[in-house]
Amino acid sequence: MDGLTGEAGPGDRPKPPTQHRRPLSVYGHGEEPDPRFSLANERTALAWMRTALALVGGGVALISVGSLATLPKWSALIGAAVCVGGALLAWRAVTGWARVERALRHSQRLPAPRALAWLAGGVILLAMLTLVLTILQLLRR
């Protein structure tokens, strides 16, 4: 209930599950949450998606620079690994959106953003690998 007008607010009226929207695994259960929360969840998933696309873009840039300049060939393989990580993260964004939306519809606690730790770990691992390979390359000269 809105305290100012006394009218019902957007989140006050429970809604039956919507049967028309896909996927039914998300929209087929629970009650319609406050649209603001759904839209915020959607924007968070899109931010993850753009992070994934940025990873793919970084990998593409590494492959491109590696082929145009005279960089060692392993740089292209590192770029490919970054791209694979980006693709995995993109699908993780989709499933993460569904998990959070389901939790919102059931008024449950939101799942922890575990992908963040995986992303940080992956980036650190690839950075370390690149550093080690660069040092080895320099020592060989």
């Binding site: 957007p10 603001r36 998933a45 793919v56 292209a76 980006g86």
Partner: protein, 148 residues
């Protein structure tokens, strides 16, 4: 917490802008690979990349209904506010009426038999598929570079 109806429009606009940024990024990210493949002379990869770009444009096109849907809600709020601004005689009455209308819109949005465009699932899956296509092309190019 209940926000004023005017702020509701910003939520939709912000989400629509997020979709636009994501769609543009998804299309642009594949293009450098085409140049690299052409320079390497890997014509099968150029053909594959061109097809992937066309598919990517088609898939990203699936985000437009979602953006239109979000802008549609925003536009409705803008119209209500615009009417209230132009009619200064009974501004307060109108404001109250539009305020109530906006509150009904909140509920209409949830009651409507929302078809596919109102769910972010299909376009989100499409963008993830574009990322996968780009990755496949990138891996093929990287192997060509590494083995050449």
């Amino acid at each position: 917490m209940t926000l004023g109806p005017g702020r509701d429009g910003l939520q939709h606009e912000r989400t629509a802008l997020a979709w636009q940024r994501t769609a543009v990024t998804a299309v642009v990210v594949l293009l450098p690979l085409l140049l690299v493949d052409a320079r390497l002379g890997a014509w099968p990869l150029v053909v594959l990349g061109s097809l992937s770009t066309l598919v990517a444009v088609g898939l990203v096109g699936r985000t437009f209904p979602r953006i239109r849907h979000l802008h549609g809600h925003h536009g409705r709020h803008e119209r209500h506010r615009g009417l209230a601004r132009h009619d200064r005689q009974d501004r307060h009455d109108r404001h109250d009426r539009h305020d109530r209308q906006d509150r009904h819109d909140w509920h209409d949005r949830q009651d409507q038999p929302a078809g596919e465009p109102s769910s972010p699932w299909p376009p989100m899956r499409a963008v993830a598929l574009v990322a996968t296509l780009t990755t496949a092309e990138a891996v093929a190019t990287a192997l060509t570079v590494a083995l050449s």
